[in-house]
Amino acid sequence: MSATATQPDSSYLLRKLHSFTGLLPVGAFLAEHFWSNSAALVSAEKYNATSEELQTIPFRLIVEWGGIFLPLLFHGGYGIYIWLRGKSNVSAYPWVGNWLYLAQRYTGIIAFAYIGWHLYTERWLTHGKSTYANVAEDMQNPWYLVFFIVGVLASSFHLGVGTWNFLCKWGLAATVKAQQAAGRFGAFVGVAFSVVGILIILSFRFDWHPFSAYLPTK
């Protein structure tokens, strides 16, 4: 018997890629996105400056497509394929992990719809030159507002659970104890993203800038 290892199946590689893209770059982009958007918590000007900074990076299209859109499309598309190949059974086995499994799928599809719409309104319609005013205006529409909130919560939840999943599934958190700790970490990620995301939305909605005091007094 030979002990040679054969190459992994493509389903293995794709699945690992899916998992990886969830965190990097998609998750990382979400973090970056929340970070730069929290400039709105300081002031509209700060927000516009930050946006402009980002909107004017060199090779913007390549970075956007290669670093965000394509990975997201892959993660989302393959995510749907994974979903279709699973068969949830929470009614018979209502355990937390099982609920999270189901929630991961629904929040994924919500996030997908939301991100698509978000990109369409804030990226496409504005030709990539969205400003504070554009977003603030959208937020006045109650339907938009609700969709924003749902989308942000779903994405945050999905990233939180995803982080936990990722740590378990790559064996970075292997023991029961480590997986519990990873769970707490994932929960922290989910809650932190939710809170920051909601604060940003409120900021746009009510023209509210809690950190404006940071600004140098003129």
């Binding site: 290892a5 699973g86 068969k87």
Partner: protein, 250 residues
Amino acid sequence: MSETKQVMVKVKRQAGPKEAARWEEFSLKWRPSMNVIICLRDIAENPVTRDGKKTTPISYDSNCLEEICGSCAMLINGRARMACSALVDQLEQPIRIEPMSKFPLVRDLIVDRQFMFESLKRVKAWIPIDGTYHLGEGPRVSPEIQEKGYPLSNCITCGNCLEVCPQVNEHNQFVGAAIISQVRLFNMHPTGAMNKSERLSALMGPGGIQECANAQNCVHVCPKGIPLTESIAEVNRDAWKQALLGWLVG
């Protein structure tokens, strides 16, 4: 329950893989420390339904009656578990008894779990010894490894962990937690480790470890309390490391 001294049991019957399924209800005499196997035996002794209709005894698998052979897995009140250790007094009535749903049905409560034995073959779940002739003692094994490996080697191939896994279904030939845990066991043993890469490769094939989506149901229903989520995580780590190395080094 105990006042009426009756036990109500509902069993899903199916005469063969292609026949239609139906439910039958039985009313049995309650006795202390009665379990589901005793219920099925009572029915076999007097195969008459609750409304007095004669029927056939129920076909089911069992052997050890002490939860060590893995034969008697079935769905009891909707949950995968071993019939021989399912005590009537701890179950809500009427007790619903069904065959496992993820394996091909044979008859009544009997299903065909050959898939698991085939999977064990696929991942080479054995220590490849040279022969049974005398070759001296085995390798030394630290008590630490033994304490980790022993629980894993308790797997009775009952299939509960596959039954409850959302990733095991008709579209998905996922090998399931038990097999992954066996790979961990053999890879842990000093001699078994010599074929570690082969086993990991097998687990990176179609239906391999990648199909696990971390719902973690398996660990709740394992009658042997095997730390399945831990096994999956560890094997996952070994697997991607091997895949990455193979890819980097060729």
